[in-house]
């Protein structure tokens, strides 16, 4: 179990073959028509079907925001937590129940702003889970404020009418520096590639992060143009941090591709010795 580079994701034992619809609930999403998150939902269910995971053995944890509404639209075990705290919830869940496949979903505001601290430490701790960030460079649910990935010159928010004036966060660079084990960027407009990447991310041990560029048609309608300049990365993924860092730092934030980095760090897990009875514990008190 220690030092394994490849983990086996065990598909359904009962012989049932699942299809994407099995992972959808009957709840009708309230995302605005045109929202990139619809494609993410479709890709996620396709990925789960491809892995043929029993829905009851998958957990999807989210925070607060439009993207974080996703668990209710699925048929897996969902947890809609408070703003920015999806990662610690997911970490606690996975460490207590290593048998579950744990997925985390949130937006750029939830994940990188209030969730920033937890993001650093989730990458560092490297527990086996997959974090899908739906990045639309805005806080959609509270009527459109700048988020950590918004350009400094965007003047569309009443809170920062002259633009935030500060550089945006580079989430994948930070993920790499903090220790994430699998780093990828996808686009909601390329759902097959996204589904394939999710499959790989789940299979890869340790903390996997997928930044999905997912346009907000209501507050950032100009993002509809993303499909015109998002392009695939030509080369293969990097397995050493230096090349990955170099490539990420030279990246303009709009390249999607196979995967940007695959590390070989061991996934963190709790491995208790479990070699004493409670009665034996009291021996230290005896006079």
């Amino acid at each position: 179990m220690d030092g394994e580079a490849v983990k086996t994701v065990s598909p359904c034992q009962s012989g049932i073959s699942h299809e994407a619809q099995d992972y959808r609930s009957e709840v009708k999403p309230v995302w605005c028509p045109g929202c990139g998150d619809y494609s993410v939902l479709a890709a996620l269910t396709n990925a789960l079907a491809d892995l043929n995971l029993p829905p009851e053995e998958v957990a999807l944890v989210s925070g607060i925001g439009c993207s974080s509404r996703i668990p209710a639209y699925t048929n897996v075990y969902g947890f809609h937590g408070v703003h920015g705290r999806a990662l610690p919830v997911a970490t606690g869940l996975k460490l207590a129940r290593p048998d579950l496949t744990v997925l985390v979903a949130s937006g750029d505001g939830d994940g990188f702003s209030i969730g920033g601290n937890h993001f650093l430490h989730a990458c560092r701790r490297n527990v086996d889970m997959t974090y899908i960030i739906m990045d639309n460079q805005v806080y959609g649910m509270t009527k459109g404020q700048a988020s950590p990935t918004t350009d400094p010159g965007w003047t569309g928010s009443d809170l920062t009418p002259e633009g935030s004036g500060i550089n945006p966060f580079q989430p994948l660079v930070i993920a790499l520096a903090a220790g994430a084990n699998f780093i990828a960027r996808c686009f909601s407009g390329e759902p097959v590639h996204l589904a394939e990447t999710i499959v790989e991310a789940i299979k890869h041990p340790g903390f996997s992060i997928i930044q999905v560029l997912s346009p907000c048609v209501t507050f950032r309608p100009e993002q509809r143009a993303w499909k015109d300049f998002i392009r695939p990365v030509e080369d293969n993924y990097a397995t050493d941090m230096r090349s990955a860092a170099k490539r990420l730092l030279n990246d303009d934030g709009f390249t999607i591709g196979q995967v940007l980095y695959k590390g070989d760090r061991k996934a963190y897990r709790c491995q208790p010795k479990a070699d004493l009875t409670i009665a034996q514990l009291t021996e230290e008190f005896e006079l």
């Binding site: 699942h18 309230v30 028509p33 045109g34 619809y38 396709n46 509270t142 459109g144 346009p215």
Partner: protein, 175 residues
Amino acid sequence: MNPTPQGKIDNLEDLLRYARKFERDAALRYSELADQMEVFNNPELANLFRKMAVIEQMHVDDVSALCGELGVEEEDIAKTRWVGLEASEAPDYSEIHYQALPAHMIRLAMGFEQKNAEFYANLAKGTSNDKVREAAKRLQAEEEMHLRELETWLKRYPESDPDWDYDMDPPMELE
């Protein structure tokens, strides 16, 4: 069982699996879009999408009939619930708008049909199996027929309204 990675299909069963999946997926998609339009209070489009979902369900029946014709066991095809990610292309959801005109949505649907037709055309080109090629060409022809049906529908609706996406109310905050 699963098709080879480059999407080459060399046996009838796999081809028909794909076909059946496409039509079922289309029916599901339109159903979802109808739901979206209901949630967003656009009953005209909701009804349009429901109609399309029903038509796609009829296309699923057409594939069953084709199975019979080609001597393929329909039960076997129906039993395979997953045919791999290549066949999981979702439509481009970004072009949908809660105040869209029916004309916009019919064009969108035409786009989906066009994509499917192209998929079968490529399959026909890429396969080495004659029967598969023939069947693929038939399926392609059917998709093209769907396309023409949609074109006639399109004529019934006004193409544009300069104000179609004007919503006087500001966005609401939710959480």
